[in-house]
C-alpha cells in the first residue's frame, strides 16, 4: 500500500463516482425528455386527477429541481414510488428482484470462471491436440450464440422435449436452466482468455527456468504458471457482470424468474418511469463498481503493471 497505489485508488474511485453520476444524469434527463406523463396513458382520469398524481410524485416542479431532489433521495436509498406497482417503493421492488437475480448471476459467474479457467488451461496444455480443438470449436460456437438463443434452445431441449428439468423458475430445480443459460457464454469467453494467457505464460523464461531446475510438471503449472495466467480473467469480471445482468433480462423472462431483469422488462411494459430509472441506475452502478473492483484487484495481483 504505497502512496502511488493510494493515489491510483483515489483517482479510480473518483472516476467511478463520476461515471455513476453521469449515468444518473443521463437516465434522469432522457426519461424526462419523454413528452407523455406516466399517468396520461391510463384512461378515465381527469386532468385534475393527473395533476394531483403528478403533484404527489413531485412531477410538477421544474426539471432541474426534480433532478436535485432525485439525486438527494438516491443518496438516501430512496428511488421514489413505483407507478406500475402502486403501493410499492422502487427500492423495495429492486431489492425483491435482486435477491433472485443475484443468486442466479453469482452462481452463473462462479461457474463461468471456474470452468473457464479449467477448460482454458487444459486446452493450452494439450495445445493443437484433439481435446484442444474440441474445446476451441465449442467455445467459438458458444460465443456466437446470443443469450436468448441459448436460453430458448435449452428450454426447448431439456424442459419441453426431454422433460429433464422444469421450465419455470419457481419449480424445484427451476433455476438450473437459467443459470446454465447465463453461464455458457462467459464460460466460453473465459476459456479463450485463459487458453491464450496460459500459452503466453508457458512460453516465458521463468517457466523454462523452473523446468530446468527440475520442478515437476504439476508444480510448474500450479505454483508458477496458474497465478500469472489469471490477470486477463480478472479484467473480464466487469464485462462479465454487464453480460450477466443484461442477459438476465431475457433469461428471466424465458424461464419466468421474478428477478430484476424481468422486473425491468415489465416496468417498460407498464411505462413505470420511476422503476425504469431506478433499475437502470442500480444495474449501471453494479457494473461500474465491478469494473472498479476488477481494476484495483488487477493492480494488486500484478505489481508489474504500471500505475499510470
Amino acid at each position: 500500500m504505497n502512496a502511488k497505489f493510494l493515489a491510483y485508488l483515489v483517482k479510480r474511485l473518483l472516476m467511478a463516482l463520476l461515471t455513476i453520476f453521469l449515468v444518473i444524469a443521463i437516465t434522469f434527463f432522457v426519461m424526462h425528455a419523454i413528452p407523455a406523463s406516466p399517468f396520461s396513458s391510463e384512461k378515465a382520469k381527469s386532468d385534475a386527477v393527473i395533476a394531483a398524481l403528478e403533484a404527489k410524485y413531485g412531477f410538477d416542479k421544474p426539471v432541474p429541481i426534480q433532478f436535485l431532489n432525485y439525486l438527494k433521495n438516491i443518496l438516501h436509498g430512496d428511488f421514489g414510488l413505483s407507478t406500475g406497482w402502486i403501493g410499492n417503493t422502487v427500492a423495495e421492488l429492486i431489492m425483491g428482484g435482486f435477491s433472485y437475480s443475484a443468486r442466479i448471476g453469482f452462481t452463473a459467474g462462479l461457474i463461468a470462471i471456474v470452468l473457464g479457467v479449467i477448460l482454458g488451461s487444459i486446452a493450452a496444455l494439450r495445445r493443437d491436440r484433439m481435446l484442444d480443438k474440441v474445446i476451441q470449436v465449442l467455445t467459438t460456437a458458444l460465443v456466437s450464440m446470443p443469450s436468448f438463443v441459448m436460453a430458448t434452445l435449452l428450454l426447448l431441449l431439456f424442459a419441453l422435449q426431454l422433460n429433464w428439468l422444469p421450465s419455470m423458475g419457481n419449480q424445484p430445480g427451476g433455476l438450473i436452466l437459467p443459470v446454465i443459460s447465463l453461464a455458457l457464454y462467459p464460460m466460453a469467453y473465459v476459456t479463450r482468455l485463459q487458453r491464450s494467457s496460459m500459452l503466453d505464460v508457458l512460453g516465458q523464461d521463468y517457466i523454462r527456468t523452473a523446468r530446468a531446475k527440475g520442478v515437476k510438471n504439476s508444480g510448474v503449472i500450479f505454483k508458477h504458471a496458474l497465478k500469472n495466467t489469471l490477470t486477463p480473467v480478472i479484467t473480464y469480471a466487469g464485462p462479465m457482470m454487464a453480460y450477466i445482468l443484461t442477459g438476465s433480462m431475457v433469461v428471466e423472462n424465458i424461464f419466468s424468474v421474478p428477478g430484476l431483469g424481468r422486473l425491468f422488462t415489465n416496468s417498460m411494459l407498464r411505462t413505470d418511469y420511476m422503476m425504469i430509472m431506478g433499475v437502470t441506475i442500480f444495474l449501471a452502478t453494479m457494473i461500474i463498481l465491478m469494473n472498479f473492483l476488477a481494476d484495483i484487484l488487477y493492480k494488486v495481483i500484478d505489481p508489474r503493471i504500471d500505475l499510470g
Partner: protein, 346 residues
C-alpha cells in the same frame, strides 16, 4: 597498379576495370527479386490461405446475396397474411393451396412453414437476416468514421488535447452501453411511433436508438486503438530510420502510419459487427427493436416462444440464422486479426 592493393588488401578503393557489365538476363533477375509485396497484398495472401476465414467470408457473401436478392422475386411478402394457412410446418400446404395443386396450378412451397398469422416464414427469416446484416454493417461504418477522426486528431496533436480527449473516451468507455441503448429505446419509442419520417417509423425505436448509441458510445475502442497506433508509430525506430535516410513525411504516412492503422481499423470493425448484431437481436427480443410487422431475428425468436412446444421450428430457423451470421463474422474477424496483425507475422 597492383602495388596499391598489395599494400593494403582491405582497401576499399575499387578498380572499375575488374567489373564486367551485367547481361540482360541478370538484370531481369534483379528486377524480379526486387519486387516487393505491399502490406495489404501480403495480408490478403495470408487471409486467403486461412481456410476457415475464407469459408466464413463466402458464407457471409452468400447470406447477404440471399437476404438482398431473394425478396425481389419471392412470391410471398413478409406482411401478407393468409388465415387459411396458419402455423404450417416446412413444405406443408394449407387445404386451399392443396386444392389449387390438385387443379394443376403451381403453388410455391413454404420452405420454413408459416407463422400464426399465416405469413410465409422463410421470407420473414430472410428479412430478419437482412436487418441483422444492415445493423452490423452500418454500425461498423459509424464506428469507423467517428473512431478514426477522433482517434487520429487525439494522436496527432498529443499533449493536452490528447489528454482531454482521452479522458472523455475513458468516461464513455465505462458507461454500460446496453443499458443506455435500452433506456434510449424506451424514451424514443413514443417519438418514433408518431414520427412523420417514414424511414424512422419503419425502422422502429430500437433501430434508431441503436444507431444513436453506436454514434455516441461504441466508437471509443476504435478511437483508442487508432490514437494508440499513431502515437506509438510516431516514436518507432523504423520511422526515425526512414526519416534519417531522407523519407518525406508523406512517405512515412503512406508507408508506415496508414498500413499500421488499417490493420487495427479492419480488426476492430470486424469485431464490431457481431456485437452490433447481438445488441439488435437482444432489443428486438425484448420488444424494443424493429416495429411490427417488420421482422427481426430477435423478434421472430421471441414470438416463437408462445407456441414453442407445438412449433419448435419457428424458433429453430431464426436461431440458426443468427448463429450462422454471428459465427461467420466471428471466424472472419479472427482470420482478419491473424492476417492483419503484423506482430503475429512469421
Amino acid at each position: 597498379m597492383t602495388e596499391k592493393k598489395m599494400k593494403n588488401p582491405l582497401s576499399l578503393q575499387i578498380d572499375p576495370a575488374l567489373f564486367e557489365t551485367a547481361s540482360e538476363e541478370e538484370k531481369a533477375q534483379q528486377v524480379t527479386m526486387r519486387e516487393s509485396v505491399s502490406f495489404m497484398r501480403d495480408a490478403m495472401r495470408r487471409l486467403r490461405k486461412n481456410r476457415i476465414a475464407m469459408i466464413s467470408l463466402w458464407v457471409i457473401l452468400l447470406v447477404a446475396l440471399i437476404a438482398f436478392i431473394v425478396p425481389t422475386f419471392y412470391p410471398y411478402t413478409y406482411t401478407k397474411q393468409d388465415v387459411t394457412a396458419q402455423n404450417l410446418g416446412p413444405f406443408q400446404y394449407s387445404a386451399k393451396e392443396q386444392m389449387k395443386i390438385d387443379k394443376g396450378m403451381s403453388v410455391f412451397p413454404h420452405i420454413m412453414g408459416t407463422d400464426n398469422l399465416g405469413r410465409d416464414y422463410a421470407i420473414r427469416v430472410i428479412y430478419g437476416t437482412r436487418i441483422s446484416l444492415l445493423v452490423g454493417i452500418f454500425s461498423a461504418l459509424i464506428v469507423i468514421v467517428i473512431g478514426i477522426i477522433y482517434g487520429s486528431i487525439s494522436g496527432y496533436f498529443g499533449g493536452r488535447v490528447d489528454m482531454v480527449m482521452m479522458r472523455i473516451v475513458d468516461i464513455i468507455y465505462s458507461l454500460p452501453d446496453v443499458l443506455i441503448v435500452i433506456l434510449l429505446s424506451v424514451a424514443i419509442k413514443d417519438w418514433v411511433s408518431t414520427s412523420q419520417n417514414a424511414l424512422i417509423a419503419r425502422l422502429g425505436a430500437g433501430m434508431v436508438s441503436i444507431f444513436i448509441v453506436f454514434g455516441l458510445l461504441y466508437w471509443v475502442s476504435m478511437a483508442r486503438q487508432v490514437r494508440g497506433q499513431i502515437l506509438s508509430i510516431k516514436k518507432q525506430e523504423y520511422v526515425l530510420a526512414s526519416r534519417a535516410i531522407g523519407a518525406t513525411p508523406a512517405r512515412i504516412i503512406r508507408k508506415h502510419m496508414i498500413p499500421n492503422c488499417v490493420s487495427v481499423i479492419i480488426i476492430i470493425a470486424a469485431m464490431q459487427i457481431p456485437s452490433a448484431i447481438f445488441t439488435e437481436s437482444f432489443l428486438s427480443f425484448l420488444g424494443l427493436g424493429v416495429s411490427v410487422p417488420m421482422p427481426s431475428l430477435g423478434s421472430l425468436a421471441s414470438d416463437a416462444r408462445t407456441a414453442l412446444r407445438s412449433y419448435p421450428y419457428q424458433l429453430i430457423f431464426p436461431a440458426l440464422s443468427i448463429f450462422l451470421i454471428v459465427l461467420s463474422f466471428n471466424l472472419l474477424g479472427n482470420g482478419l486479426r491473424d492476417a492483419f496483425d503484423p506482430k503475429l507475422r512469421n
